[in-house]
Amino acid sequence: MPAARLARVHATELMVLGGTTAILSSAGVLAWALHRSGGDLLVTFPLALLGLVGVTLASLDLAWARHHDLLVARLRGVHGVTALRVVAAPAWAAVLLGTIVGPAAASGFLGAAPARWPTPDRWGVGEGVAAAAVGLICAGVATGTTLTLFRLPIAATFVSGRTARQPLTPAAVARVAGIGLVVLAAITLYRATQPSAASSAVVLAGAGVGGLTVGQLAVWGLRGLSRTSAGRRTTAGLLGVRRATSTEHAPRLRLAVAAAIVGTAAWSGAAAADAWGHESEALRVGAAISLYLPETSALQTWQLTQELDPEGRWLMAAAVKDDRDESELRVAYLDVERYERVAGPVLDATTGSLAGVVEDLRDAPGVEVFTGARLTASAHHRPARGGGERARTPSLRLSVEYLDGSGVVQKVELRLRPDEPDQPDALSGEIALPQCEVGCVLLGLTATGRSRASGRLTLDTLVVDDTDVSGDGWVSPDGPADEPPSRTLALDRRSVPAAARTDQPVLTAGDPSWTDGPARVVGIGGGDRPITRLGSRAALPLVLGAGLVGDLPVALAGSRGSVSGVRSVVLARGDTPPDLLTALVDRGADEPVRIDPGSSRALGPSAAADLHLRTLVAVGSGLLALAALLGGARGRRGAARRDAASLRVIGIVAGVRRRARLVEALLLGTTVLAATSVGGWLTMAAVTHRVRLVPTGPARLPEPDAVDATSAVVAAALAAVVWMAVLLVAGRERRVAALLTARVTARRTPNREPR
């Protein structure tokens, strides 16, 4: 047959074979590029497996469509190289075209793709070799299948009166292949239960085997169904069931189910890794923008945000200590009062969201910052009942510790004396307070002096300029957790503001373990503080998978200056005015870090490349299945006309014929739906969930769960609907012209569509 005519007559089959090759060669090129960026080629194994099946099917379709030509060639006695050329040249041409179109499409895609695709800028020899290898394999498969058909006994391809296409693979071969698949699937399943499964190539490639096995089981199941109770069916039911279960559909059913399962597994793996990467990035940055302030104390940072953004519209201070891996030693303190406005837009969608716990986190006294130049104190002395010793005048020296505006711990000492000689029990004193123009925090005080035996000294006021800073009272820095605050001064012992010793409410992530003593948190100043655990989360802002999160002002109350390892950070909304950011940089902040809109920064190069490989597998298997299903449409159109013609002659009316098509499509669609959703879920739950999708580590987010029943059902529904559409549209009863009926019923042209 001349080439032009051949191309016209077999356009569909040639296009499907070329298209399948193009899908695979473009996938090969992209896969190699991603491999160079650190991806694992084994991830694409399921697609390669589907590709082999798809190419075999496409070349069988072409070979079958040409079987009259092949027969003629045989009858003419061609052999040797000529035979090979005659037999395989059209397939080769289609494959060659596909091998050229595929990489071109791939390069076009990369040109238009978002820059986030982690592929090398320039293509190397490797990509070319990959495309050529795919092309060669496809050509080999196509040649092999065509030759198989060519060498079948003539009787098998051309028996008078045969009206249906024969399955090409001998039944025994098909059965052995089916059983082999089941055995392979069993091995994969076993391997997936082993502890080393995450690094196993068998498991990584498992979706392909799983998909094809489920496809094979669906074929067997449908065949079994057809054996039972044919007698009681209606005419349409009988026809529909027999058509649905005919060998004609088996390879497409197998491929469609396998592709949907491979696609689902790959897609949900990619989606899980992507979500993990996004969430890690969001939690790591903490908001749309973060600015670290390496030289600034936590208190100063907090004050800076209060100063630059008094209404809390853009900025939020935080301090984080994440230089250790142990949960109990990792802490992030955030100014949660501003959480909702500043961090909420980024974090609310993550597991580390603080929405709903903000008030609980703040449910403890926060830091009191005071400014002023003079410190005044007053106290009184109450003698013990019945005590003597009236003669001695009490004297009191108060050493007051505070954190000054530059983060330095200062100490002043003031003497309290009786205000009036005749009132020796009322004392007061005053002293200048240096470095408190900006804002100081009271840390502790120590009283020394004399009191009369068994009397008590009570601190009445502690005033900076006009503000009383004595708060709720005082406790000893290392007293029991339930020690009530008081204003009574214990002589020669340091007391701290009660706020510094109240339980700090925290959320935990990971598995903090306090081996000695009660649960506590590392304060900004280094000391410990008892905690109330509000709950635990899979991950938390800034500390991610391991650590504690609490309120910054609460943590700052009574906390000494930041110890090393505590990093100050300002979180900012994405729409923060630039001059505000500039102001922060001017005041010592590093350059702003913006959240990465993609997931690759958190995933790292190799997991990011794997993610894209999985996307490639998902899209590739979808396209392969589509090509295969569409490829069946044409042959079906011819068969549908012949069937309609035969049936109308024996009095089966159009309504019954339509119902039969519907039964057929529904049965196949339901089988695809059931097999794919159940099989897809099982494949994910039993095998592919063991695959490592993301980098792991103690302080990272927990590994994502890639078992996604919803996406299995969606893929199943998609596959079922596409196939049913192809079946119904291609098999639709066009008005069978009367002339056509006569010709179909009169001519013995079983395999060629009448024109």
Partner: protein, 216 residues
Amino acid sequence: MIEIRDVDYRTAERTLVSDIDLVVRPGELTAISGTSGSGKTTLLSVVGGLVRPSTGSVLLDGEATWRGSGDPLPAMSFILQVYGLVPILSARENVSIALRARGVAARTADDDAEEMLDRLRIGDLSSRQVEELSGGQLQRVACARALAVKAPVLLADEPTSELDHTSRDLVMGLLRERAEAGATVVVATHDDEVVDQCDVHHRMDEGRLVSVSTPG
């Protein structure tokens, strides 16, 4: 009774059948013979109402067999030259659906089909897919399908072309049975021995009827 009045059948290029004027009576076996390509199949298609005559008309008991769509009248049954079996069905099912299409209950249809296949000596093949049958076996399934429905009209196009003598006589016997039951039976054939077993014989040549005789 089938009345064929002044029937021509033409395609765009050629006239395939012309000037056919003929009455076929029930209760008789009517043979139409002629060389290959003489127009037998075309004539049967026109008579059966599968195609519309270009001129003239075909009436079955006064009703036109062409119904406007190409769907034959329910009274018609066919043995097609190329069998027109449904490949994905078994032999029994091929016969059975023709019965079911005429409203016979599934179980009864299966039993009747089985019985007719038995009478054609292919009862043992009844569960086989027709794809797996030989030409002669296929032809007998096609005969069984047309005979089983017991329609008032039976148009048989070369029903014995692939059959050995024994099977041929078997089929002719069954056709005779139908005729005796009052059916109108037309057999297109190029086999003289088949012609000899018929009651009326029309010969065609190049699309025209050339002679009428009463063999035997």
